[in-house]
Subunit: 266 residues, 2 copies
């Protein structure tokens, strides 16, 4: 891979209506596809979250907790995976409409986890796909787990893994808030945006959040931020940007200045 | 895998309208899902063809021939794969509606070919899926190829590979004719159905067809039949059955007598 790789996460909160089960935000999906197309990147991996397609079903059938031995849960797993396939189809269709050579890559077809962490990840097809110039589109998925039978593999765990393996230049995380704040911006209007956080600052913050010594500065996304730490340690810069706001994602992809939080090693 | 495995192929000619681009045969898909559900098999792998979803696009963009270096063909590959994902979604949705724990498994996400033949096939997730009691649903797909960049992997090559690897009891191939005939039944009304063909007879026939010494007894499907030979050599029985006719597939799955051609080693 000669061109510098960007790993882009599109949050489920942006591409679906999180409060309405199985409801895509089609205008947002179309707009984001246009923004990605207009950025004209040479090397891009896209991963999206589940929003109201993945989370309600995964919760209903307790997929993350693993197989409980009941046939009804097998059907629940099938429904959960299929809902994610449906959302993925909408995203890939929108990208192809913008003439992006986007290829759906289904995590559960090849990635195995062990106690919820990525265990085996045969990268050969994905590597070939990137070499040829395609844009792979993966997603948080219901996957098979060596210990638990199955579980949920988050899009956040995926992006960090991919960014590290492919030595990505950067991760861009598109969410529905402006970045990381001094406290939860959805709960506290006084919350101030953190423009830049170093790895050391982030680790201290995460520990304090864990001990409930400080407010949750991640805006309700501590596990999301936690997943980024191994990638930041490897020197990958992470940009958290509000992609629910028009043009933000496009600017971020082009490297233009945009309201956001940058997480970097130093 | 304790239960005896059936590998079922649903031909693209049955689940789509072959003469209308991107047009599914939804009543047939729903009927087949009901027939599969009523057969109540313990262990099943399903693979479907492309019909009017896969073939016209694959042909238009010359996907089987490999990458020609042009960006327009990359988009063509993306469209071809995405069309197959769309057809697969219809099949899996119909199965889930019948309470079958069907899981879409996307060949291009994990299988690599070398000059059109399966080269690497990490089986761990699929094995786990079968052990848990799911029904994996694969499909003929546009896949990545070590020599050609990409190509087409037929559902027929897939079923033989899977049947051999998982020591399947049988392969059932659902097509839109009653089986193999003494000549092409679509072209010749005098064609007689062959109820049973041994491996040796089949090999002789295939050679004669290749040399154009005899009519194409496969009903226009010589490459389909050719792909079955390695599985038959390993002792897998192949049943070719007209699944466009109501109840035929259900009977075949249950092991009941049905108009068909059986191909066996002896």
């Amino acid at each position: 891979m000669s061109a510098k790789l960007t790993v882009l996460k599109l949050g489920g909160s942006v591409i679906t209506h999180k409060d309405k089960s199985l409801t895509p935000n089609l205008p947002a999906i179309r707009r984001l596809a246009k923004e990605i197309a207009s950025a004209k990147l040479d090397s891009l991996i896209l991963v999206h979250g589940g929003g109201s397609f993945g989370h309600p079903l995964a919760k209903k059938y307790k997929i993350r907790e693993g197989f409980n031995g009941k046939a009804s849960q097998l059907l629940g797993f099938a429904e959960t995976h299929q809902a994610m396939v449906a959302l993925n189809k909408l995203v890939v269709d929108a990208l192809i409409k913008e003439k992006i050579s986007a290829v759906a890559v289904s995590p559960s077809s090849f990635i195995m986890t062990k106690s919820e962490r990525i265990h085996s990840f045969p990268l050969e097809p994905l590597t070939k796909l990137l070499q040829l110039g395609f844009v792979p589109v993966l997603f948080g998925d219901a996957v098979f787990d060596l210990d638990k039978g199955f579980t949920i593999l988050s899009g956040d765990q995926l992006i960090a893994y991919l960014a590290i393996h492919y030595k990505a230049e950067r991760i861009i995380v598109g969410v529905d808030v402006d970045g990381l704040f001094t406290s939860d911006p959805k709960a506290n209007k006084e919350a101030k945006l953190l423009n830049h956080v170093t790895l050391k600052e982030l680790e201290t913050l995460m520990q304090q959040i864990g001990e409930a010594k400080v407010p949750d500065v991640t805006g309700g996304m501590p596990s999301k931020v936690q997943e980024m730490i191994p990638a930041v340690e490897k020197g990958v810069n992470v940009l958290v940007v509000n992609s629910a706001k028009s043009e933000n994602l496009c600017k971020a992809l082009k490297g233009e200045r945009v309201v956001s939080t940058v997480i970097s090693k130093l």
